[in-house]
Symmetry: C2
Subunit: 219 residues, 2 copies
């Protein structure tokens, strides 16, 4: 805990715009992320968080009305960053300008989300575990991801299909294959075998090539 966590600086930068966080508040968030991701939200107690943060328990409730509000203050901002690569207005133009082939597009997305997962891993873990149990999280996710990202992703797939670079497959199915494969890599890399000797470049190539072979037309 001596080094500054990368997700923390991001979190600070986001909250900064609204209001400055005190030193103790930062300690609280740090401790909460650590304990939530270790024991789950329901399995963590505010007294334990306060202890690890070196703070009185009452201080937590100065800054957050409830334990749940503390959870949301950690997880919600991450969602915005999660969908960042798709948060552009004219998506098709970006595609045409920057990504002439499916491969270059896939590689960009994969590498980008790989770094994202590396940075925000503890919070992503909390998010994945808690989303089935909190309506607020599910609805925020639906709003942001389903509406914002899905349509743009389908558009990208249709774009490549029209250019004969992706086989004729319903876009939801094609997207499912892409996300499944990339998520499968990320989950294996960071959750199942985080301490393995990973040759990331090679594995990224395997992953991208698998998707490419699976989705592009055969000559």
């Amino acid at each position: 805990m001596s080094e500054i966590e990368p997700w923390l600086t991001e979190l600070l930068r986001l909250n900064d715009e609204e209001e400055k966080m005190t030193d103790k508040q930062i300690k609280i968030v740090q401790a909460a992320v650590e304990i939530f991701s270790e024991k789950g939200f329901a399995g963590s107690s505010t007294s334990e968080i306060a202890q690890k943060a070196g703070v009185a328990e009452g201080t937590i409730f100065r800054h957050y009305k409830t334990k749940k509000e503390l959870l949301l203050s950690i997880v919600a901002p991450m969602m915005t960053k999660l969908i960042a690569p798709f948060a552009v207005k004219d998506f098709t133009k970006v595609l045409e300008a920057d990504y002439p082939s499916v491969e270059s597009f896939l590689r960009a997305v994969t590498l980008n989300r790989l770094e994202f997962a590396r940075k925000h891993f503890p919070i992503i873990k909390i998010f994945i575990h808690e989303i089935p149990f909190h309506n607020e999280l599910r609805e925020q996710f639906k709003e942001k991801v389903a509406v914002q990202v899905l349509e743009k992703a389908y558009k990208a797939i249709r774009h490549f299909q029209e250019h004969g670079q992706i086989i004729d497959l319903p876009p939801p199915a094609a997207l499912r294959m892409i996300i499944s494969t990339i998520m499968g890599f990320l989950i294996t890399r960071f959750l199942l075998i985080p301490d393995g000797e990973w040759q990331e470049e090679k594995e990224v190539d395997y992953t991208i090539n698998f998707i490419l072979y699976g989705l592009t037309p055969r000559p």
Copy 2:
């Protein structure tokens, strides 16, 4: 809850061999599965389980020493069934006899696990959610899956590679692609969009074809 849950009959059959369960014990297990899968283990209380089961709270602890033991009695037997398709002695012989092509093998595994997921969904959900927080679960899973299944799966992949039916890829990477794609389908089908209008045969075909195109050599 008026109809008999499919996972329950399986659970009964397994426990039957050791000891008979009383009516109240069955009610307890039913209620526990429902509540655990809805609220998570840490978020569920024994009093709530007792209430839903129509049983005194003390009755739970007559049959299970602790709340955690109740959890394990539900989740552990499922793991045995999870790896059932791979629990044969001479795996290569089965491959050669019954599955001449990668496609027939993949289709068999996918359809088989699709039915498994349909049957045991609530317990699988509990399992996935709780495995990061309970050492006993993790170790049981490692023992059974890592040792029993992984080696056999690698063997199957190597078998097909030797016959030129799967491209030259490290077996762990190839297996990751296969599992990611199938899991991605099952998670989408039962967790993300369980109420969608699914044309399962078509989706299974998409899934299998994607894996085939991704892993088989191009002509």
